[in-house]
């Protein structure tokens, strides 16, 4: 589904990603963990080109994303992204958030978009909040609307960048549950997270990044239970919960 080869990214002379290779299969859930500043967000943002890679190639569902001929907006409709800060549109209701892109990008008619939108809100358990504005929702609810907004585009891949890091502890669970359900439904997912429990339960593969490289990857049991690299061991002992 996703093939990443020799991906590098620098901000000025700060080399944030150094020649990363990674493949993600269809229906696979890959969790990316690593210390702060290791380049996880940058990596994820390169995949849908919110960040311009310095070099390397990324193929998503057969489309070369870094190619200048590639229609970036079309590729992005097949990749949903969920941000740490939710980034809901504050001037729209929950339903308005969820229907905006289907109407303006996919050209669905309003009735069809709203039907699909309500279905997605239902899926994240917020059908009854459809007419609320983001400022009237809790952080957990906002993040679930953000997930519904991405799902309404019927993406083939979902990218999560620390989707629960900005949430109060008691609201983390509801968002993780939605992500679990999504993984259970067979969605291909790349998940940057600090939630080791989630990685252990849900991930097919865990990738440990540090200093802009993939240090180690494997099954959750292998990486979280029996890491081989010193850096992985050090990181896990610091974040042990």
């Amino acid at each position: 589904m996703i093939t990443i080869r020799a991906l590098s990214k620098s901000f000025g002379d700060n080399e944030v990603l150094r020649s990363i290779d990674l493949d993600v299969a269809e229906r696979e859930v890959v969790c990316i963990i690593g210390p702060s500043g290791s380049g996880k967000s940058t990596f994820l943002r390169c995949v849908n080109r919110l960040e311009e890679p310095t070099s390397g190639s990324i193929t998503v569902d057969g489309v070369e994303v870094c190619n200048s001929k590639c229609n970036l907006d079309a590729v992005r409709t097949s990749m949903g992204m969920v941000f740490q800060q939710f980034n809901l549109f504050p001037h729209k209701t929950a339903l308005g958030n969820v229907t905006l892109a289907p109407i303006s990008v996919l050209k669905l008619d309003r009735a069809e978009a709203e039907r699909r939108g309500r279905e997605m809100l239902e899926r994240v358990g917020l059908a009854h909040k459809a007419d609320m504005h983001p400022s009237q929702l809790s952080g957990g609810q906002q993040q679930r609307v953000a997930i519904a907004r991405a799902l309404a585009m019927q993406p083939k891949v979902m990218l999560f960048d620390e989707a629960t890091s900005a949430l109060d502890p008691e609201l983390v669970g509801e968002v993780l549950q939605v992500m679990r359900d999504l993984a259970g439904s067979g969605m291909t997912m790349m998940v940057v997270t600090h939630e080791m429990g989630f990685a252990r339960d849900v991930a097919d593969r865990v990738v440990f990044m540090d200093g802009g490289v993939i240090v180690e990857q494997g099954t959750p049991e292998a990486i979280l239970g029996n890491p081989q690299q010193e850096r992985t061991k050090a990181f896990l002992s610091r974040t042990r919960t």
Binding site: N48, L50, D73, A74, R76, T77, M79, G80, M81, F83, Q85, N87, L88, F89, P90, H91, L100, A101, S104, V105, H133, S135, A146, R149, A150, M153
Partner: protein, 249 residues
């Protein structure tokens, strides 16, 4: 003791002369205020459209658009508005008279020759100031909004129209209302262009009467005509500011 009533009477005669005030009616409303409103509405509408284009150019990814917009905005803002109005409103019609017969009359008929030189030059001034307010509003919308819109497959332009500008406009309503009040006063600068009878705005209308009577009363009347509009507008600005600070949606 005797002096006080006499001084008051003198003040009344000079500044609040009832006979002259009556003479100014109804023209001060039907001609002067009306034209001031027409100039303001025209310059504000044209200014907001041009200002939006300038603001977008100012933050464009193309360096030449950015440079052009920044140069234009800074030039206009760096000059006295009066000078801009004289150069554009006075100089252009003369310079182009040979080309079009009458530069301003050509596309707009008599309306053009009467109103346009002033309106057009005022629009440029308004656009330059509004462009800065609009740009500030756009930049006040968090970066994540554009990223979220783009990640949903919206083009840059679509994201701007559907996501960024609706939020930016909420932010800039107070400064733009302020700009409207400023513009309303700045229409007085058009008086230097010497628009003929029928096209006079408040200041020129008042000056005509003041020159004819040798009294200050017409100017005081003109001042009142401005205040009738500007005070409510300024009240509105501070109301909008207070509401924005309370952080309502």
């Amino acid at each position: 003791m005797m002096a006080a009533p006499m001084i008051l009477a003198g003040v009344g005669d000079e500044f609040f002369n009832g006979r002259i005030l009556r003479e100014m009616l109804p023209g001060i409303v039907t001609e002067a205020m009306r034209n001031t409103v027409v100039y303001t509405v025209f310059a504000f509408s044209a200014g907001i459209v041009l200002g939006l284009l300038l603001a977008l150019a100012r933050i464009s990814r193309r360096w030449w658009l950015r440079t052009f917009a920044a140069t234009f905005i800074d030039t206009i803002r760096g000059l006295p508005a009066l000078l801009v109005i004289v150069i554009i409103g006075y100089g252009f019609p003369i310079a182009y008279k040979g080309v079009t017969g009458n530069f301003w009359r050509w596309p707009f008929g008599s309306f053009g020759s009467k109103y346009l030189p002033g309106c057009f030059s005022l629009s440029l001034v308004a656009a330059a100031y509004m462009a800065e307010s609009i740009r500030a509003g756009i930049e006040a919308v968090p970066r994540g909004q554009m990223e979220a819109a783009r990640s949903l497959g919206m083009t840059q332009g679509k994201a701007m129209r559907k996501v960024i500008l609706p939020q930016a406009f909420r932010i800039i309503i107070p400064p733009l209302t302020n700009e409207l009040a400023a513009l309303f006063k700045d229409t007085s600068l058009i008086a230097v262009l010497g628009v003929g009878v029928g096209g006079r705005e408040i200041l020129q209308y008042a000056r005509t009467f003041s020159n004819a009577t040798g009294k200050t009363t017409p100017l005081v009347a003109g001042g009142i005509a401005y205040l009738v509009i500007t005070i409510p507008l300024l009240q509105l600005v501070s109301y909008l500011d207070r509401r924005a600070k309370r952080g309502t949606r």
